[in-house]
Symmetry: C2
Subunit: 357 residues, 2 copies
């Protein structure tokens, strides 16, 4: 009955929720899914007027026009998804033909490989260099079958980024029938001056698509809303494979209201910078390597020990972080930058784990 | 860049929202999408505790266990979707191989044809008989390539249903590699005694899947949550192609709370029966044929006139109903059974439209 392609799919393992552990560890904290520790940019109470018995009206809602204005693009260059996850799936559904390949990197967001499997595309992973996506390694792997190139920028889980010039170099070396997808889920956290000016690139290259999300900076992960920016022809074709009610109406309204909460955005960014500095400083006493992160999380590699048991040990102390075992990294973890209290708690419990025999 | 299959897709045309017309027609009513006119079975205020900055935890949430208990099935027989729409897509993604066909009926829910297009399956539509899905017509069209058979029961837009015996007959004549999908979006409205006892059939036939939704009786269309019931092997395979955060956390919580609002359910069903009787009675003065409806809407066929302009005329009078033109029916409309006030308003405006030259 089933298509054999699904045998290749290994189920995604989400971060353990604090909810699911609350009976055993009532005071547990979750630093495992790069959520916003300061909550959402919009209160549910502000959306009480949304009629939840009505189907969402994707086109009449002001979200797309407001986003377009903020990004200085046309509304016809925008599409919304049930999280960025769904956008990656729409992109693959609209483009992949039998025999096509999806190119991305090793040690990156697992969703790109997932959409390769569900569309029966082959998946090619270019090696990182210094925990960073390598544009030369990607270019070297482009073939006539490469239909999509996915780049997480900054990269999840390593936190590193690829520069404007490097992305330009990739686009100059990509054939016109190959779509480059820049997944900028963490773009708003970036401070590096040479980070891609991706809206300019979208207007310059007809085979570039950029995706962003309300799940991170705006703290709406539970509502599921991401968006994509590309030229109108691409967007029009993606709309064809989109379910008519793919984004729920509360997500539309909360996302729209979040866009104007500048104070929340500023606070999140300031606290994220402060938290990153605190964690780096506190972790300096261990023999670790932490690649420079432009996002709201740190990739922490322990140079002198296996930390196989660390994720489980931390859970027993009420701290949920992310193991990097699924990437074959048994000496690394990924930790979301939390509130000051959460960061201190993590450091305290980490120290206990590392020093308890 | 794009797969040619998408050229076959004609975009879904959703019901026009009252929201989108409120400037021109402030008092307009929508009877076009079979939503619950009594609102949702759960207030958003009861879900204020849901942390919207956290990713939804699909498996830890009590919804699946509560549903399983209510349906007397095992939780391993259940899967949730971003509306039933997404479940149909997951079913097609998991099963369709090159050369496969999807079988369904003419004049039925358009989503089945949509998922055929996005998975590049051919789509075969069996003719209705007396506005009712014909099991003999379906059986006659099963070939070795038929991978999926979709049956809306009750059928949308005609409101008619197929009996337990008829579905049994279909299952007895369906090869084991062909999955029969019973879309029971309106099941809770049905009063016919010989409506399929589909949970019993699911336990008897390993190639049967049933889908239901919280969008209709429970009034949660804007939140997007549907569910599917089948044997655990099918469910396990569908989970493989499911995005990890496909259902948002507010939908999980509202659906869970709605299940225990028995008073709301009772009121909705009583008022629906009353409204259907009122509408039938009021429409008897025109020369119409209205097939018996087991759902929350009526399919109204005008025997003696073309009603090409009626949907637009009604909009100009502030009443949104659904044209049946996309099914090639220029003399029929579909109307959701509303509150008493809405039903009376519809009849009043309809009369004005039909009698104004």
């Amino acid at each position: 009955m089933f298509n054999k392609k699904i045998d290749r799919i290994s189920p995604y393992v989400p971060g353990i929720s604090a909810e699911s552990l609350k009976d055993r560890y009532p005071d547990c904290i979750k630093l495992a899914s790069n959520e916003n520790p300061w909550g959402p940019a919009c209160s549910l109470a502000d959306c009480a007027h949304v009629p939840i018995e009505r189907y969402p009206d994707y086109t009449a809602h002001p979200l797309i026009h407001t986003l377009a204005k903020q990004l200085s693009v046309s509304p016809s260059q925008l599409i919304l998804g049930n999280g960025s996850d769904e956008l990656f799936q729409l992109i693959a559904l609209a483009t992949i033909c039998p025999g096509d390949a999806i190119l991305s990197s090793e040690c990156t967001f697992s969703e790109y490989e997932f959409v390769a499997h569900i569309t029966d595309a082959s998946f090619v992973a270019a090696p990182l260099v210094n925990h960073t996506i390598s544009i030369p390694n990607l270019i070297a792997r482009i073939t006539p079958h490469t239909k999509l190139i996915f780049i997480a920028n900054p990269n999840n889980p390593t936190g590193t980024y690829v520069s404007h010039t490097a992305i330009e170099q990739l686009l100059e070396n990509t054939p016109p029938h190959t779509l480059v997808v820049l997944d900028e889920a963490y773009a708003e956290y970036v401070t590096a001056p040479d980070y891609p000016r991706s809206m300019a690139l979208v207007n310059q290259y007809p085979n570039l698509m950029v995706t962003r999300t309300f799940s991170k900076l705006y703290g709406l992960a539970n509502l599921r809303v991401g968006y994509g920016i590309a030229n109108p022809t691409i967007i029009q074709n993606l709309h064809k494979v989109r379910q008519p009610f793919n984004v729920n109406g509360l997500a539309l309204e909360c996302a729209y209201r979040s866009l104007s909460n500048h104070a929340f955005v500023q606070k999140t960014l300031t606290e994220n910078t402060r938290g990153a500095a605190y964690l780096r400083d506190a972790l300096a006493r261990y023999n670790t390597h932490i690649p420079p992160s432009e996002a709201n999380f740190l990739y922490i590699q322990f140079n002198d020990r296996s930390i196989d048991h660390l994720p489980d040990d931390l859970i027993r102390r009420g701290v949920i972080i992310r193991s990097m075992k699924r990437f074959g990294q048994t000496n690394a973890i990924r930790v979301t930058i939390g509130t000051s209290a959460q960061n201190e708690r993590f450091i305290k419990e980490l120290h206990a784990c590392l020093t308890t025999p």
